[in-house]
């Protein structure tokens, strides 16, 4: 399998930053209005409803696996405007 090198990861990150910057500068209308976010605001849609539990579970897996990181949510989208 061809390895995904650090340089290639950096290029992906740079591309992501450029795209994000471009999008951020454009006038975008929220396509899901605040009054349409009832389902997203439901507690069952919380990205991490029980941090004390998910932290422990992540720890159990990370102790036994080589892979780690990136599984936590970045938050957002609860509709509580």
């Amino acid at each position: 399998m061809k390895r995904f090198t650090l340089t290639r990861w950096r290029h992906v990150l740079l591309l992501g930053a450029v795209v994000t910057t471009g999008v951020a500068c454009a006038p975008i209308e929220p396509w899901v209005k605040p009054y349409e976010r009832e389902h997203l605001a439901d507690p069952i849609m919380a990205i991490d409803p029980d941090p004390v539990s998910s932290s422990y579970r992540d720890h159990v897996f990370e102790v036994r696996e080589a892979a780690k990181g990136a599984m936590g949510g970045a938050g957002g989208g609860c509709g509580c405007t």
Binding site: L6, L40, I44, I47, S55, R64, G75, G76
Partner: protein, 376 residues
């Protein structure tokens, strides 16, 4: 290493999700009992997490976590003696809300008899586009000190740096997505001082010291979709790709459904798949003592496939008698982990087999969590 991994996990959940939609997290206390049992190892203990707002713009979270370890694992019974250990971890995290941004600072301190870990972290998140998008950046730095029981002069150190970027996005009125990227560099002593590798001698084998590289850089990228189902349930799918400079690639996939029932109950079911290949310098049996410059026989960097299934239940109490207590939930979850190793062999009955012909090792473990959550 256990402490370092624990700190990384905590950093991910305490700092990054602190910024859900430009409001500070709820005031909340969680009291959890955890128990892991499998492969001759039992780890249990409490975890208490308390989060409280201070004024309108600041939220403070503190966590106290204990692992009580009783280990007679496959590594221990084949190369050493069973042992017990206790690890304590304390952390403090402060979030500051300013406009559409949340700035977070955190510190974690972990101690066990032969390992200490200290980690400082900082992150910022920003809501954009009418709160449809949340972008976050995080950095953490860790300093670990490794000792060895029975050798008071043994002292090694590890330095860790972790960079994180994340985006959460509302895609439709029923669908959330998030993308996360992690880069971690570790430098220093990256192996377990008690573990040994094995190499062939004549018609048998013997043990020798493991030799690890002193650096490791890893990258992980994950995507998650969370969908609100028409009958009020939440379906979560997640995939992660991981790659590091030790030659390990790993795939993780997770599926979870949360189903509310009878007003006060929420039932959950989840499945998690994991697969990795071995590190470049891993071998179950090396041909000779000095076969290559790096040599390891740690099953965590061998090739294997893991499957985990779990169920959980949560019951919500309405507390009318205590005015300051908004609600309480009682939660129980049980996960069953099944790991089948592709090139790590079970040496507990090694004398019955030729070297390299022993049966492959499999791990079966149960993970129990019982916790109470209080919103106030």
């Amino acid at each position: 290493m256990r402490a370092a991994l624990r700190v990384l996990a905590l950093a991910a959940i305490v700092v990054m999700p602190a910024a859900r939609c430009t409001v500070l997290p709820d005031d909340r206390a969680d009291v959890l009992y955890h128990r892991y049992q499998g492969g001759g190892v039992t780890v249990d203990g409490p975890s208490v997490l308390v989060r409280k707002k201070v004024g309108e713009s600041v939220s403070v979270a503190a966590n106290y976590y204990v692992d009580m370890i009783s280990s007679a694992s496959i590594d221990v019974v084949t190369t050493a003696s069973p042992y017990t250990e206790r690890r304590e971890q304390k952390s403090l995290n402060v979030d500051y809300l300013h406009g559409k941004s949340i700035y977070s600072l955190g510190y974690v301190d972990s101690k066990e008899s032969d390992y200490t870990g200290k980690t400082a972290m900082a992150s910022v998140s920003q809501d954009l586009f009418g709160d449809l998008t949340t972008v976050s950046f995080g950095f953490s730095r860790g300093w670990d000190t490794i000792g060895k029981r029975g050798e008071p002069d043994f002292r090694q150190t590890t330095d860790r740096r972790n960079y994180r970027v994340g985006v959460s996005q509302v895609l439709t009125r029923n669908l959330l997505a998030s993308l996360n990227y992690d880069n971690t560099t570790e430098q220093g002593y990256l192996q377990n001082p008690y573990r040994t590798m094995r190499y062939a001698v004549g018609g048998g084998f013997t043990g020798g010291p493991e030799i690890y590289p002193h650096t490791r850089t890893s990258n992980a990228a994950a995507a998650m979709l969370k969908y609100y189902l028409p009958w009020r349930a939440a379906l979560t799918t997640q995939y992660r790709f991981y790659s590091d400079t030790w030659g390990i690639d790993a795939h993780t996939a997770r599926l979870e459904i949360a189903q509310p029932l009878w007003k006060r109950w929420v039932l959950t079911a989840n499945y998690r798949f994991y697969k990795q290949n071995a590190a470049d310098f891993y071998s179950d049996l090396f041909p000779s003592a000095n076969y290559q410059n790096f040599m390891a026989r740690d099953k965590e960097i061998s090739a294997y496939t893991g499957n985990t299934v779990g169920i959980g239940a949560s019951y919500e109490y309405k507390v009318d008698r205590i005015s300051w207590l908004k609600k309480v939930t009682i939660n129980v979850s049980l996960d069953h982990m099944m790991i089948d190793y592709d090139n790590f062999r079970d040496l507990r009955n090694a004398s019955a087999y030729a070297p390299g012909e022993e049966p492959l090792y499999s791990l079966r473990a149960n993970i129990l969590q019982v916790f109470f959550s209080f919103w106030f």
